[in-house]
Point group: C3
Chain length 267, copies 3
């Protein structure tokens, strides 16, 4: 499998505007910078529309939402939609509170997303599939993950990326299942948030009809950088892993991704 | 000394809701995750009561307080009190401003805490003992640290944990003095904030009459993980230490804590 | 060249109050602590005037501005001006939005800064020199960097520090060009923000007529600690570098700075 978009990210250094949580902001910015993109964190309603319209992609992450931040998300999202800037939604812990459910409903009603990325519990909620979640983790649950990804993509007319031990990527028709990754990625806070930002960086350098492929490459680059960073570490070494993962995001090459990718794609 | 609660934290993965400062959020979340707990950071008044009621413990940290955050703390704290969810107060730099003194007075008047954890200057303020503090550090001062811990516990009918070169843990009657730790823990920002969160994780898996013991174990696990992480590092290597400390929190075993603990308990 | 102020920072442990972005808060606090200063992060309008007046220096960083934070910056800045506490401005991405341009105009109109530190694009904007910027990075541009630094210093009657591959430091009359540093410093988020905080720590221990020299030493200590941390690392290892840089800020000695400094000073 040829990897097209990683080098494009590094060549174009897309400006990725994130409206995200306090927990994820620093790690996401460092990860984007390591990958080769240009991070921009800003969440004041007074400036986000202007910034989003001039960005190459926008990420809306509801990890620690407030009313002001939601107002900013709507303003930024509408400006991005008008300017054809791709927008990625990360519906963190959407089912954990009525407030989050309302926020996500509002965002989905008023904005058109290029992609939605979340864990199984979050995407199951968006697909109306019963799921037992606990807090912000994916929790335990049964359900056809591929069907959930496909349903989210169909319902919201966008890419759906359901990430976990395996990643399920769908545009409603096609489905890819990615088997790369490391459990250590689940042991560091905001790793999902950073994946959403990395996905946005890949979509920023891709035309609309190549987004499915770009999303597969984004997830693969991320997961394989994780494998590289985890090599030689014990499962408990999440602190060391976090630093090495940033290193790996900067060093990983398209050839390495192509050689290590384990993905199955079908209709 | 047998260590009971560390394995319980890992088995139950308690959801620990923190309302904390921008500085502490990411490090606290990573530390809780490494330890085996499940972190939840959220501070909107619109959702914290619902989240706190469904959490296993709540941490209120006034490191960077705002009016909205204080409103959220009161709502979350009252919901936690109603649901018998243990609440930990971290009165960061309480004596540094009139605003912080008022906030802490309000929190203490309206909420029942399971534990209060702070440094000597912070707990001396709560115990009405004169203390010379400088900023958010403990500063220099004299005073009977054991008496301060005991007085805070008695006055606020909760556990008091006074941490520093030695930790003083009291429930008003009993007093434990823990001699473990490393100066490197004082060289990383938010290490006290994370200890408050770790304490909350231990209280989350403990019945009310075992909390004194659980608090001793929380402080010991934390301090001994620090000793492990500091092994082989120079006193200046706080950057390297921070990553290794996260690793150590994940790897440390109850047997290791039991073997290394240096604690004296009395009436 | 004799290095005077690094040891003074460590001896006096100045309290440096920062009003800064979510992205920069934790890294800045850790860096200040490593250097030997005492960080204080607080941004509520309800307490910042009191805190700033009792601090040894104040940093105002517009990386993620909000209306409430700007209000806090004005209150803190005015209190610092009244108390003769030196104030450092970091005009992050000032030209990226109308909102930031207005904020910086307001801050410059109402406050007297001891120093302004930014990259070439940010200082070019303040000097009214055309510059092509992209997002929060310096972007590409031509222009006489020395002239820009000098003009910012003259116009705002303060020190100007233009940082990049080389740092240009001017008080309007004198100009120093520092050639130390490592590209890895540009690969970690908030490294400029931390440099502004480090600059504030040096100004905190310096009388007003020694500030030019102190600023040169601050930039040199920072850049040479970066060189030490980068030794043996690949250009991609920004994650590892960040931890080692914190270590180096704590370990670096005045003698090491004096031996490694590459600076040219002129009128």
């Amino acid at each position: 499998m040829h990897i097209h978009y990683l080098d494009a990210v590094r060549a174009k250094r897309p400006l990725v505007h994130s409206i995200t949580s306090t927990v994820a902001a620093h790690f996401s910015a460092n990860g984007l910078l390591a990958l080769g993109a240009s991070p921009l964190m800003a969440n004041s309603p007074a400036e986000v529309a202007e910034l989003a319209a001039h960005s190459a992609a926008l990420v809306l992450n509801i990890g620690m939402p407030t009313d002001a931040q939601v107002e900013a998300m709507l303003l930024a999202g509408e400006a991005a939609n008008r300017a054809a800037v791709p927008v990625v939604l990360d519906p963190v812990a959407v089912s954990a509170s009525a407030y989050r459910r309302e926020i996500v409903a509002k965002l989905l009603a008023r904005l058109q997303f290029a992609a939605i990325r979340g864990n199984a519990a979050e995407l199951a909620y968006l697909a109306d599939v019963p799921w037992q979640a606990s807090g912000v983790d994916a929790g335990e649950g049964s359900g056809d993950l591929a069907a959930i990804a496909r349903q989210v993509a169909t319902r919201y007319r966008c890419l759906a990326v359901l990430s976990g031990a395996r990643d399920y990527i769908s545009d409603g028709k096609r489905l890819a299942v990615l088997a790369n990754g490391t459990p250590l990625l689940l042991r560091i806070t905001a790793s999902g948030c950073l994946l959403s930002a990395v996905l946005a960086a890949f979509l920023a350098v891709t035309s609309a009809n190549e987004r499915f492929q770009a999303a597969c490459e984004a997830c693969a680059s991320y997961a394989i950088a994780g494998e590289q960073a985890a090599a030689g570490l014990a499962p408990s070494q999440s602190g060391s892993f976090a630093a090495r993962f940033i290193d790996a995001l900067a060093a990983i090459s398209a050839a390495e991704v192509a050689a290590a990718i384990r993905i199955e794609t079908g209709e």
